[in-house]
Symmetry: C2
Subunit: 446 residues, 2 copies
């Protein structure tokens, strides 16, 4: 997989990681500038670094309030970082190449394959062209809806600016908002237009471009790929499950859904069920949720959204494969079968590896933070999970983080975005050759 | 696997589950009797049921204090329940058969195979004979050491009674103690004799009789089985890891290790590292531990001890296989290799299934309890994990449990002891025949 370039030798994952890191550094410098915020003083390096990482990794954890601290220039920098980070640095670079009609080389296709996590090189270029197209169309429609709705509450110019910012932020599952004082969508808990638009943008952004592309081809091809079927069904089940449990747990909680009528309860439960996959906006006060509901969000954040999307987490397909493997074992079957197709054994191993690596990282980070930060463990675990899943939901720890804590959470966001496996391969790109096979041994399990 | 007996048809797992349930009911009746406790009044049904389940499932979660509430008769009932539950109902039945020189039939061997979780029928009978031998020898030595040590603190007769009770309780990883007022070993934090004896009893009990048998054969055979090597190395790594992290986190915590010298710190860290596998005794106040340390105990309790032992949890080998699968994946290898032997794919699937089923059960129970019990989620999760792993450590929830909570925790202990897979097979004993194999499909993971 290693590719020779003049003098230096980088693997695609390494180039990907370096690309994201460079973008974060650039963002840090811009956000530090006194002209980027409303105070006129320079933002401390660590806070600028944290904000840039959060934007590039489309997380949405914030140490300063985006709406009140940053001015138009600062907010625009964040918006651009979100858009580039969301579409993916590598995808973006290729899009530029496409725009300039340059021929795509095999090497560039391999880089793209890594960035999009696609199984085959074929069709990658066509997919990338569509990424730009879909993003523009969906984000434009979203911006239009938000603008019309917000024009009832604010001047049309501001409504348009808000519309564009939030459409980009929500579709890229970035979780940044301009509503001020860390309020996110809490002023719109029962608002059907805001919620419907937000939910659709988040879900579409979280399905992944491969699935969107497949859906667009549906009228012509009359069938979906196995991957798309699995993503759509898993996403549907997760949303429905979260919706029902949140509704059940929070129905009469005066701090959250209890004070709303049926409409507010419906939209509140739906948005909070959708947001851990991995938007990071919220329309109720998360700290007022029952601890069981917070724990449910924790699990949903861990699962996250789908591969090749703008979102983080271990991914819906990984989760589905684990469940499929469990069901197969319980039914005494040898194969993991979805929609009349069995999965290769390597898929199960990869899913397992991702889940274990993610768990190990999250637990380690949370334990270290519980030593450096003087806060409840649940709060710390929630924040760590949110950072790893690039979700952006917080029970309030972000603004209290020590400098060390900010750096650690920023690095966790980076790992979550670039992908653990990519990072592991980047650190250890050479495979040892498998010399010979050992005889099979017997052990007792469970 | 289903075996025909006159008129009724039970699979070995079903017989196993029924055996444990019968023992629990018998214990409940005995512990309810007014003559079993020091108050002279009948213990409420639910509390007797909970205590009997806790004893049979060698868990050690208690709603009434064993040392002060029960009298000699009640404590003896608990001790017998622990011994029978620990050695395993089925093992015990066969031991009786052996004692009476009855021939062991194939059917009885199959039942034993299920109970001992052994891969082959061969050697089972020999193993069972050893179970009784090892238990008597190890428990006798343990009782002697405790008696001598405790004779310095109390009359010799009481010291002997305490010695026998605690040796049985600790070797079977039951976690019951007579020291009163839920104090467990907190009066002996820095005591070398008490701690060394306790640690050895717990570790030996948690290795599993297969490994003990293998170790006894070591001088003659000069080699250990793959299973024993894996159990011993995983147990060693877990104890060392827990020891170092606990020492690090609690070194200067005035509520736990901070008030002790080097000896107390050493023994305190060691005992608390060993006890989640799955003894359930404690020598420091668990509620005073840092939350990060409590979380570490939570993870260690989830892993638990080794298969075929007196302990619960998902088991050390299950954990080792998961880690092995992850490392193989990361190194680009196709096989999971331990000690120059590769593992069958079915081992990985079984390990994965056990872990996922356990997680699903624990999370579901904890979420239900967080609705019915008015307590911190961490407390509830800890209690649920402790019940499932049949560990018996508690942050104090047990005595506050509602009747519903007691029933749910008792059922969780039962699932943890009988084994989730056994339970699942017991509920669904018939395998669907695998009619044909589906073509392989492609999806994107992570
Ligand atoms: K996000
Ligand atoms: K126990």
């Amino acid at each position: 997989m290693a590719i020779v370039v003049p003098k230096l030798k980088f693997s695609p994952p390494q180039i990907l990681a370096i690309g994201y890191a460079t973008l974060i550094l650039l963002g840090t410098v811009l956000l530090m500038l006194p002209v980027a915020n409303t105070t006129g003083r320079a933002l401390p390096l660590i806070d600028a670094f944290f904000t840039a990482t959060s934007a590039v990794c489309v997380t949405g954890l914030v140490v300063v309030d985006t709406g009140t601290f940053f001015n138009g220039f600062g907010q625009s920098v964040i918006m651009v970082l979100i858009q580039i980070g969301g579409l993916g640095f590598m995808t973006m670079a290729t899009l530029l190449a496409l725009v300039f009609q340059r021929r795509i080389s095999l090497r560039e296709r391999l880089l793209l394959q890594e960035a999009m996590n696609q199984g085959s090189v074929e069709g990658i270029v066509r997919l990338i062209r569509r990424v730009l197209y879909y993003s523009i169309v969906i984000e434009s429609v979203g911006a239009l809806v938000f603008t019309v709705r917000l024009a009832f509450d604010m001047p049309v110019g501001q409504a348009f600016y808000y519309g564009v910012f939030h459409s980009i932020s929500f579709f890229n599952n970035a979780g940044f908002d301009l509503f001020g004082h860390f309020s996110s969508l809490t002023a719109y808990t029962a608002d059907p237009v805001m919620n419907l638009a937000a939910v659709l943008l988040i879900v579409l952004g979280g399905l992944g471009f491969v699935v969107l592309s497949d859906l667009a081809d549906l009228p012509r091809k009359k069938k979906l790929s196995l991957h798309s079927k699995l993503v759509l069904s898993t996403t549907g089940v997760l949303i429905a499950f979260g919706f029902v449990v949140i509704l059940l747990f929070e129905w009469s909680n005066p701090g959250t859904l209890g004070r709303f009528g049926l409409g507010g309860k419906f939209w509140g439960a739906l948005l909070q069920s959708v947001t851990p996959r991995t938007a990071g906006i919220n329309s109720v006060d998360l700290t007022s949720l029952h601890q069981a509901t917070q724990f449910l969000l924790l699990i949903l954040m861990f699962i996250g959204a789908s591969p090749g999307s703008t979102a983080g987490g271990v991914k819906t397909t990984t989760f589905a494969v684990m469940i499929g493997a469990m069901l197969a074992m319980m039914r005494g079957r040898e194969d993991v079968v979805f929609f009349r197709h069995r999965l290769g054994r390597d898929r199960i191993l990869k899913a397992l590896t991702i889940i274990l690596l993610a768990l190990a990282l999250i637990i380690t980070v949370a334990m270290v933070l519980s030593v450096t930060e003087d806060h409840d463990f649940m709060l710390i675990l929630f924040e760590t999970m949110s950072a790893f899943g690039t979700v952006g939901l917080s029970l309030g720890l972000t603004t209290d983080l020590s400098t060390f804590g900010k750096i650690l959470i920023a690095l966790t966001m980076f790992s979550g975005r670039v992908g653990l496996l990519t990072l592991v391969y980047a650190l250890k790109p050479k495979k040892d050759p498998e010399k010979y096979r050992y005889p099979e041994g017997k052990i007792i399990i469970g």
